[in-house]
């Protein structure tokens, strides 16, 4: 059987739809009541949050993507190509980024009842008691909205759940966490029939030292890690193209200066510069992204610089210049198409290096730390618990290595493609 991209995309969306049907329905209902609220002119009681937006876009994409794929099946050549391993992984990563809240219905920061949830091995099952929800006295529509919202958007602190090891039903209820027993009034607990409602949560990849679900963190970490990588690549691309054009266009002095500077920086132990800046000025997502980008513009610069000089010698360019195209036009119409491929190849490789650098920074305590789930930070946390919990380093490590492998493959196959077309 031949699996092409078309089939893969469709299957993935359908699978997600089937597995997370209830989440999809809940999201739809939530958005319905949201629209309803706004319609009724009570928008002041709505608070837009990123989570809400996330579900909303996810839902829309889930409808739009199959439509696009179906409509353009014959127009886009790629869709009919046989899928490669690289393509499949890239596709999965894209899916993870777009549909995080649908893939995992859990908050990446949820940590509660450490006595039960700390450092659980993969496939552990934990029982959950549900507390009765507080009812707020607001008007009907708003109440509906809030109820759906709390149902769908899981909070980070699990205000309505208790993780337990076991339970003794009686008056009052007694539940066990580790070795301690705790009593709780029955009327605080949500019941199903005469028994308390107990559900189980399976931690696919186990939990970390805070009792957080590693699977969920990896899913959300994909976003963070790839965002940092992409952002840094953008920053270095910007710097590289500006400097590259200046040096190729304006005379010898700039050319010499930037080239030597690039060479100096290229081989300078750049990690020190990064560490210095982050140590002295603080490390958050944007400073890491910016510093990593600013520290790796050199190879892109070299490529752009060399290509521009090559292009300047070419006939078509000289003709275009003679016709009197403006500099901007020259760039967009003549240079960009030629430069595009080598730049993309280099960006792909740079992207891999940056994700790797973020992991190294985490080891030195200058990464994203605990505030955001990034793979680098998770691997760093995992190496501290190597003796206690092998799963903490293994899963994010595998994810990182798999992604980097894919990115490298992508880069080299692009490279081959480009070289072939040049020849």
């Amino acid at each position: 059987m031949r699996i092409n991209y078309f089939i893969m995309i469709l299957t993935a969306v359908l699978l997600l739809f089937a597995v997370r049907f209830n989440v999809v329905v809940d999201s739809a209902l939530l958005i319905y009541s949201l629209v309803n609220l706004i319609w009724k002119g009570q928008s002041e009681s709505v608070h837009f949050s990123f989570d809400l937006f996330d579900h909303f876009t996810g839902l829309i994409l889930m409808i739009i993507i199959p439509l696009i794929v179906l409509i353009f099946k014959n127009k886009i050549k790629l869709l009919n190509q046989k899928i490669s391993l690289v393509g499949a992984v890239t596709l999965i990563l894209t899916f993870i980024i777009l549909f995080s809240p649908f893939i995992t219905n859990y908050s990446p920061d949820l940590q509660k009842d450490l006595a039960v949830t700390k450092l659980l091995p993969p496939f552990s099952k934990v029982k959950i008691l549900h507390l009765k929800k507080e009812t707020k006295n607001i008007n009907e529509h708003a109440a509906e909205f809030f109820e759906r919202k709390t149902e769908l958007l899981k909070d980070d602190f699990g205000s309505s759940i208790i993780f337990i090891d076991s339970l003794v039903i009686g008056e009052p209820l007694v539940y066990f966490q580790s070795q301690t027993s705790i009593r709780i009034d029955v009327d605080k607990i949500e019941m199903s029939g005469s028994k308390p409602k107990v559900t189980t949560k399976t931690f696919l990849m186990g939990t970390d030292e805070f009792g957080r679900d590693i699977f969920t963190r990896i899913i959300y970490g994909t976003r963070v890690s790839l965002f940092v990588g992409l952002g840094a690549v953008m920053v270095s691309l910007l710097i590289a193209s500006v400097l590259g054009f200046i040096s190729a266009y304006y005379g010898k002095f700039w050319d010499m200066l930037f080239n030597r500077a690039a060479e100096t920086l290229f081989a300078f132990p750049i990690l020190f510069l990064i560490v210095l800046t982050l140590a002295l000025f603080g490390n958050n997502v944007f400073s890491i992204l910016f510093v990593l980008g600013a520290a790796s513009w050199m190879s892109l610069f070299k490529i752009i610089h060399n290509e521009v000089i090559e292009i300047k010698k070419k006939d078509f360019f000289i003709t275009a210049q003679l016709i009197g195209l403006s500099k901007f036009k020259l760039f967009t119409a003549e240079m960009f198409p030629v430069l595009r491929i080598p730049i993309i190849i280099n960006c792909v490789l740079l992207f891999g290096n940056i994700i790797l650098a973020e992991a190294a920074l985490s080891y030195l305590g200058l990464g994203l730390g605990n505030s955001l789930p990034s793979w680098g930070a998770m691997i760093d946390a995992g190496q501290n618990y190597l003796n206690h919990a092998w799963w903490m380093i293994t899963f994010p490590g595998l994810m990182l290595i798999l992604t980097l492998l894919t990115i490298n493959e992508l880069g080299s196959s692009l490279n081959k493609l480009y070289n072939r077309s040049v020849k």
């Binding site: 030597r260 060479e263 100096t264 081989a267 132990p269 560490v275 210095l276 990182l400 980097l404 492998l405």
Partner: protein
């Protein structure tokens, strides 16, 4: 020709050092405008504010920044880096304590990376398309993308903790100073095995991939096909034609790698408690030991300039086409 070469080298060094100076000056200002105060090393109720003031005074941190910069420039030009705040020794002396180790570790690792990657690429070339080749090309990719600290942690876990074959850290046993020369040598070798593997893995993989690609590239050139059709033996083709033609592009990459290695292998040094420039620099940064930060950066820069120069020189020796480029 010789004069021309010397002139080219001199000019290049001059420009490189000028840029290094600009770069270090940039560092100077970066450090000065950043938060943190080197005289406020520890917060303790016992330290009196009077001490704090007087220490700050003696570090000349109360002077206007331009005056500090003037002194800094003067000292840089005369080759004085001043006293390290933490080590309470001249910066040059501190660096001289740490530099030899880094030079040894860096060059050892460099040699290993080159030799091993060359050997593996050669194996790949000979067994082209067979299992070994495919395995090596996949495995090298995995090695290249594995974060260095993950590799190090696993190596220690396996070889030191589980198998108890190799020491976990340091460069020598605690009483190595009582050993004979040979015992000491053995001691050093034992201690350096894991750090060297950790430090060399990614570089080896990278060189291997480059070499393999170059081999592949040259191999598919028409003159090789001609040779082969003329019945020249495969060994001769590999040694006389493919390898010499593939080496020169590698040299410039190798030069960069050498520069980086000699600047200090930060993560490896931290992981294995090695007394190298990487750890020295990072500690200086965290302790805000301004003179030492400047000194370390300067040394790293100088090493980098020379290893780049070395790379370009050797490239032009291997391939005369580059010497023209170099001279210009």
């Amino acid at each position: 020709m010789k004069r021309k070469l010397l002139y080219a080298i001199g000019k290049r060094l001059l420009i490189s050092f000028a840029i290094l100076f600009v770069f270090i000056s940039f560092l100077f200002f970066l450090i000065r405008i950043s938060p943190g105060d080197p005289s406020q090393k520890l917060i303790s109720p016992k330290l009196s504010p009077a001490l704090h003031e007087s220490v700050k005074e003696s570090f000349a941190l109360n002077d206007p920044i331009l005056e500090q910069f003037y002194n800094f420039t003067k000292n840089m030009l005369t080759g004085q880096f001043g006293y390290s705040y933490d080590y309470k020794m001249p910066v040059t002396k501190v660096i001289l304590e740490f530099l030899p180790f880094t030079l040894i570790l860096g060059s050892l690792s460099f040699v290993i990376q080159l030799a091993l990657s060359f050997w593996l690429a050669y194996l790949s070339l000979k067994n082209r398309g067979k299992f070994l080749d495919r395995f090596l090309s996949k495995f090298s990719l995995v090695m290249y993308v594995t974060p260095i600290f993950v590799l190090g942690v696993f190596l220690v876990f396996i070889f030191s903790v589980k198998l108890d074959l190799l020491p976990t850290s340091g460069i020598s046993s605690v009483d190595s100073y009582r050993y004979s020369f040979w015992q000491n040598l053995g001691d050093y070798i034992l201690h350096l095995i894991l750090p060297l593997i950790t430090l060399s893995a990614a570089g080896t993989a990278l060189f291997y991939r480059y070499l393999r690609d170059y081999f592949e590239d040259v191999r598919s050139k028409s003159f090789i096909l001609n040779l082969r059709s003329m019945g020249v033996s495969e060994n001769v083709i590999i040694w006389k034609h493919i390898i010499p033609n593939s080496i020169s592009p590698l040299v410039s990459i190798a030069g960069i790698e050498l520069g980086t290695l000699l600047g200090g292998a930060l993560i490896t040094e931290v992981l294995f408690s090695l007394p190298g420039m990487g750890r020295l620099t990072i500690n200086a940064i965290f302790a805000r030991d301004y003179p030492l930060i400047i000194g370390c950066s300067f040394i790293a820069g100088v090493l980098m300039i020379f290893s780049n120069l070395l790379a370009d020189l050797s490239r032009s020796i291997i391939n005369p086409r580059y010497s023209k480029e170099f001279l210009n």
